[in-house]
């Protein structure tokens, strides 16, 4: 009998590819600590009395510290015309910050308006930062004007609200103000101008279809059963564009026809209320804009003098509610919500916003309506229009008023649209398009160049856009 044990041990090490341990070349570049004003200018209108002045850091503060700011004045006296908080003493104020913060601020209080025809301003300059090796660059100065002036440049991060994109954000560049409205806070927008037009809320993917009937109480769920699947966004049917508002923003193309003085000409509409704002937390870089479906309504809209009369009911109801909605002077629309059954505030005054960040019902030609996140519309009803420029033709920094081509401004609210980002696909998430910028003519006729600097936050989470702009 022979017993033997054989061990065969082999060990193979295989290193594949030309893999180095990382992929970013070079060495460690320490992030320098830079302190700057968020914006180089600030202006007050006659109503404003105090404004926050933001200072931003290039990276989180490495330690507790302070920024020293000096100021000079033109026709303005501290304590008489203005004060600051923290208080300024002999042309200087000190603002503290804590380690780990990404910025700090101080308050500017306007005590007396400027006298017509006399310039009145305060100019702030960052003079020192307590942190060792800190750098002062970028917006090192801030000009505060006591009268309303168009901002020469600025930067802002509209509060779209992250991956659920909860908000519609209306931005006015010249005054650097933002107004936000929760996307599903309204359903119908009644035009306040001469025409009698009603828009639906495309930011939550609403859709409407005219029915044969003019008797709202006679319409039953059975009547609309076959129509319902088609009255929606994103059905990949070219014909479904009839159920949504004209994507260019042209009022003549609303899904609901012009409201006629003759009641018999105003049919009942089937209304798909779209979706609630999403609440899911998607994978970083993706969006979850749509939550639960909001259901259906039937509506009919009539005229009463200069007012609208809205009749509405659930599909299976045999009676309806009725509400009179008046036009709101100075604003594009009066907004109405089925949830609160009241009119609600959404947009700023007609000429107090230039662009709006919103989820949007757009069209893919040949495939019908299609929902877009991260969309930007211009205030086309007040004449704000835009077009895009590729950096390969002119760099952002080199672009001046002489480069503006008036012929390129189109009468379309989608002048910026989704052109500022790359669309995603299977396996790729949308990303910022860094080789384009935009030219925008605002509601006052000012021409700006706009460059987007973020689609996501630092962690790649969607819904945190940022842009800079400069007056040409």
């Amino acid at each position: 009998m022979k017993n033997y044990v054989l061990y065969v041990l082999s060990l193979a090490f295989l290193l594949m590819g030309t893999s180095c341990s990382d992929d970013d070349g070079g060495g460690n570049t320490p992030q320098e600590f830079v302190v700057a004003f968020q914006n180089p200018s600030l202006s007050f209108d006659t109503v404003d009395t105090e404004k926050e002045v933001n200072l931003v850091f290039s990276t989180t503060a490495p330690e507790d510290g302070s920024v020293t700011i000096t100021y000079t004045t033109e026709n303005a006296v501290y304590d008489t015309d203005f004060t600051t908080e923290p208080a300024g003493i002999s042309g200087e104020l000190t603002i503290n910050f804590t380690g780990g913060s990404t910025g700090t601020s101080f308050t500017f209080n306007k005590l007396q308006d400027a006298i017509e025809g006399i310039a009145k301003s305060v100019s702030f300059t960052i003079s020192a930062v307590s942190v060792a090796d800190a750098t002062i660059q970028g917006n090192t100065q801030l000009a505060v004007s006591f009268t309303e002036t168009a901002a020469p440049s600025g930067t802002t991060s509209p509060e779209v609200g992250g991956p659920n994109q909860d908000n519609q954000v209306y931005v006015d560049l010249s005054s650097l103000t933002e107004t936000t409205a929760i996307r599903d806070s309204w359903d119908l927008a009644f035009y306040s101008g001469d025409a009698f037009r009603v828009k639906i809320n495309g930011s939550i993917f609403m859709a409407v279809a005219a029915l044969e009937s003019t008797d709202i109480d006679a319409v039953t769920p059975a009547d609309v059963e076959t129509l319902q699947p088609q009255v929606a966004v994103g059905t990949f049917d070219a014909a479904n564009m009839a159920y949504v508002d004209d994507v260019t923003g042209n009022l003549e193309g609303t899904a609901i026809a012009a409201i006629s003085e003759t009641d018999a000409d105003n049919p009942v509409y089937l209304v798909n209320l779209g979706f609630e704002v999403g609440t899911e937390d998607p994978e970083a870089g993706a969006v979850a804009v749509s939550g639960d479906p909001r259901g259906w309504k039937k509506i009919r809209i009539l005229r009463d003098g200069d007012d609208y009369v809205l009749q509405y009911a659930d599909l299976d109801a045999t009676e309806h509610e009725e509400v009179t909605i008046s036009k709101t002077s100075g604003y594009h629309f009066t907004f109405f919500s089925f949830d609160t059954e009241e009119t609600v505030d959404v947009q700023p005054a007609a000429d107090r916003w230039d662009i709006s960040f919103t989820v949007f019902t757009n069209e893919i030609e040949g495939f019908g309506s299609y929902g877009y996140s991260d969309f930007i519309t211009t205030n086309v009803l007040s004449g704000a229009t835009a077009y895009w420029v590729e950096t390969s033709s002119t760099a952002y920094a080199d672009f001046t008023l002489a480069n503006v081509d008036e012929g390129l401004f189109q009468n379309d609210q989608r002048g910026i649209g989704s052109n500022w980002r790359n669309g995603g696909g299977p396996g790729t998430l949308p990303s910022l398009k860094d080789d384009v910028f935009f030219v925008l003519k605002d509601t006052d006729g000012n021409v700006y160049k706009i460059r987007f600097t973020a689609l996501t936050n630092e962690s790649g989470v969607r819904g945190y856009p940022a842009f800079e702009f400069a007056l040409l």
Binding site: L6, L11, E32, T59, R451, T453, E458
Partner: protein
């Protein structure tokens, strides 16, 4: 910033593997235990960089979302063969295999080389036992033989929600399969023998299925041997086909829990002969085979998305395949030469298509291998060449209102490897120098054949390899 330079198309990876084997022989039995270990790290650096430019401070703080996958596999295999009751021979194998892939996802600040938002978790894992046993020689007869056997597997799999869209839930499944089989061999005279067999298949997932086979062998006077095999083969989908969720950046292969078992009939005809001169200075073994298969509800990995490439297992209504192959092996002194030709045609009918074209699609494969041993210097030189003719596959076309499968052609390609192996110290030390993919194949064109004028879209083709590569292998046999 996004210059396309960051990130790799073919991901860098580091692999370590180790193997161990222990043999033990006693009277009337032999056994071995084999262990294998494999470890792999794959880094994915995202090609998209977020510049995070801050216009106020005129600084950038670029970040990217990266991930690192770590895989480990341990395989234990125990086998015992022998005789009991003086007659019955047995051969029993049992194995336990464990594999696990972890993922670390993080965001990376490129300037400061700083990881943040680090999230580590188990990505997926599989554990399973498998055993197969056969028992022979129940009769002390030369004319009649009987084999009884069993095969069982019990596999538990886990897949994290990260590994796919399980609507936020992880998948934790167990699949058990137990088979019992019996085969008899009956000789009728010197020339003719036949072998009937049957198998019963029990599983935790499907109803019990039966399989039967019959093969016959006839030996001609002049050394030719003819063999015919006929079988029915129901086959349950295995764990891979049901639950696989192998999705990382290089791969997207998905199981399908809606699969049903395959039902197939197969027939084979083989004719073979060995040629050699009287002095045995050379030997040529040739074999011609022909086959026909017909499978209902065949399970196949189909491409459901061409770029990035995504596969899913699907039942294809009917699958027919016929073909013929001709293989030769020539040994002459220190030279060995293999040549194989294979020609097959297949026809598939797809579940989901309203109207289908079940024409046979033909494919040709040629493979050859040449090796020469130079005895004086203990060196073996070998080359391998294979040609895969154009192949056709189905692609899910999602550019239409109703996504549907369409046919796509993959161009033919050749593949060549070569190596030189030298042994030292009484064959204890082996040194191999080699090159893979000598023809430098990276992408193969795939195109949609417009049947009935559907759309054809340009794409970048299938990524098959990362190009020519070279390797050095050192192997030392340890006899203790």
């Amino acid at each position: 910033m996004n210059d396309g330079l960051r990130g790799y198309e073919w991901l860098p990876k580091t692999q370590y593997s180790g193997k161990g084997l222990v043999n033990y022989s006693g009277k009337n039995f032999r056994s071995f235990y084999r262990m294998e270990y494999f470890n792999e790290r794959v880094q994915r650096y995202d090609s998209v960089v977020r510049e995070n430019y801050n216009p106020s401070t005129q600084t950038s703080n670029p970040t990217a979302t990266d991930a690192e996958f770590t895989s480990q596999r341990i395989f234990n295999h125990f086998n015992i063969t022998g005789k009991f009751l003086q007659a019955i021979t047995y051969d029993i194998s049992a194995s336990y295999q464990q594999q696990k892939r972890d993922v670390e996802q993080y965001n990376f600040r490129i300037n400061t080389r700083e990881k943040f938002d680090v999230d580590s978790q188990e990505y997926e894992s599989r554990k399973g036992i498998y055993s197969r046993g056969t028992f022979n020689d129940f009769f002390q007869s030369e004319k009649v033989g009987l084999q009884l056997g069993y095969e069982l597997s019990n596999i538990k799999g886990y897949s994290s929600p990260l590994a796919g869209t399980f609507s936020g839930n992880s998948i934790d499944r167990r699949l058990e399969a137990y088979d019992a089989f019996a085969t008899a061999e009956i000789e009728l005279g010197q020339r003719f023998s036949f072998r009937p067999g049957t198998r019963a298949m029990f599983s935790s997932q499907f109803k019990t299925q039966m399989a039967h086979s019959l093969s016959a062998k006839y030996a001609f006077d002049n050394g030719y041997q003819l063999r015919a095999v006929l079988g029915t083969s129901p086959r349950n989908p295995n764990f891979d086909e049901l639950f696989t969720y192998f999705v990382d950046v290089n791969h997207d292969v998905r199981g399908n829990t809606n699969l049903s078992p395959e039902r197939g009939i197969s027939s084979f005809l083989h004719l073979k002969k060995n040629f050699f001169p009287e002095d045995m200075s050379w030997r040529l073994s040739s074999k011609i085979s022909a086959w026909y298969l017909n499978v209902d509800d065949r399970i196949e990995l189909t491409i459901v998305n061409p770029s990035p490439l995504a596969f899913q297992y699907n039942n294809i209504d009917v699958y027919r395949n016929w073909g013929a192959s001709f293989t030769n092996k020539l040994v002459h002194g220190n030279l060995q030469f293999d040549l194989g030709l294979s020609f097959s045609g297949e026809s598939k009918v797809l579940n989901s298509e309203e109207s289908f074209n079940d024409d046979y699609l033909y494919a040709l494969q040629v493979s050859s291998n040449i090796g020469y041993q130079i005895p004086k210097i203990n060196t073996m030189v070998s080359f391998f060449f294979k040609y895969n003719g154009p192949e056709y596959q189905f692609i899910l076309d999602t550019n239409q209102d109703d996504p549907s499968f369409i046919r796509s052609k993959r161009d033919g390609y050749g593949w060549m490897d070569g190596s030189i192996r030298k042994t030292f110290m009484d064959n204890k030390l082996h040194l191999t120098l080699g090159a893979r993919n000598l023809l430098d194949i990276t992408r193969i064109n795939t195109s949609t054949v417009s049947s009935g004028g559907v759309h054809s879209s340009p794409n970048n083709g299938l990524l098959l390899g990362y190009g020519r590569s070279f390797f050095v292998k050192l192997l030392y046999n340890l006899n203790i």
